[in-house]
């Protein structure tokens, strides 16, 4: 029973990983990840973002 339980969970984990792999290969996720990377690294975007994210008390907005 315990073994079956563990087997089932291992299968769920394996299928989750396969789903992740398949998702990462889709054009939509590839574009999203590229856009997210640019959002974090593009210096022009950062120059606009920084003043917007700075608050008088120095905290980042949530």
């Amino acid at each position: 029973m315990e073994n079956n339980h563990a087997d089932n969970l291992a299968t769920v984990q394996q299928r989750t990983d396969e789903f992740i792999e398949a998702l990462l290969a889709t054009p939509a996720i590839r574009r999203f990840r590229e856009a997210a990377r640019q959002f974090e690294t593009d210096r022009h975007l950062l120059a606009v973002r920084r003043p917007l994210e700075e608050r008088p008390n120095g905290k980042q907005p949530r």
């Binding site: 299928r15 396969e18 789903f19």
Partner: protein
């Protein structure tokens, strides 16, 4: 439809593979002990007329109180009565089994969603909600 194709939502082999992988994950979840226990607990609760009636009454009273509290008129006695109703409900075996089974299944689902979110870089559970995470 054209817009979907243009944005890569349908039509590509990668999307078809992702859909098949999603179905396989769904099947694995459906075959898990947690899902089967939840299904059995759900059926047992449906068969327990007394528990179902009490649960419906509790949910109805809770909704009434929630509406009242929105208008700032929460009745303390009614709140205490609701708490008593919950205490009585949560001592019933079919309710206990259902809640435990639900908790166990949610833990598995949350773990899978957290894995997916971590790997793809967005909150997968929120993105799949009806409001699309907005």
């Amino acid at each position: 439809m054209e817009a979907s194709k243009e944005h890569g939502l349908t039509g590509s082999p990668e999307v078809a593979a992702a859909m098949e992988a999603a179905r396989a994950l769904g099947r694995a979840l459906g075959e898990s002990a947690q899902f089967k226990r939840f299904e059995a607990a759900h059926d047992a609760l449906q068969a327990d007329t007394e528990a179902r009636q009490k649960l419906n009454e509790f949910l109805s009273h809770r909704q009434e109180l929630s509406m009242e509290s929105m208008f700032g008129s929460t009745d303390q006695a009614a709140l205490e009565k609701l708490e008593q109703e919950w205490q009585s409900l949560s001592a019933m075996p079919s309710i206990i089994s259902y809640l435990h089974a639900q908790e166990d299944l949610l833990a598995v689902l949350r773990e899978a969603a957290a894995r997916i979110s971590q790997q793809i870089g967005l909150d997968y559970g929120a993105a799949c909600s009806p409001s699309g995470g907005r």
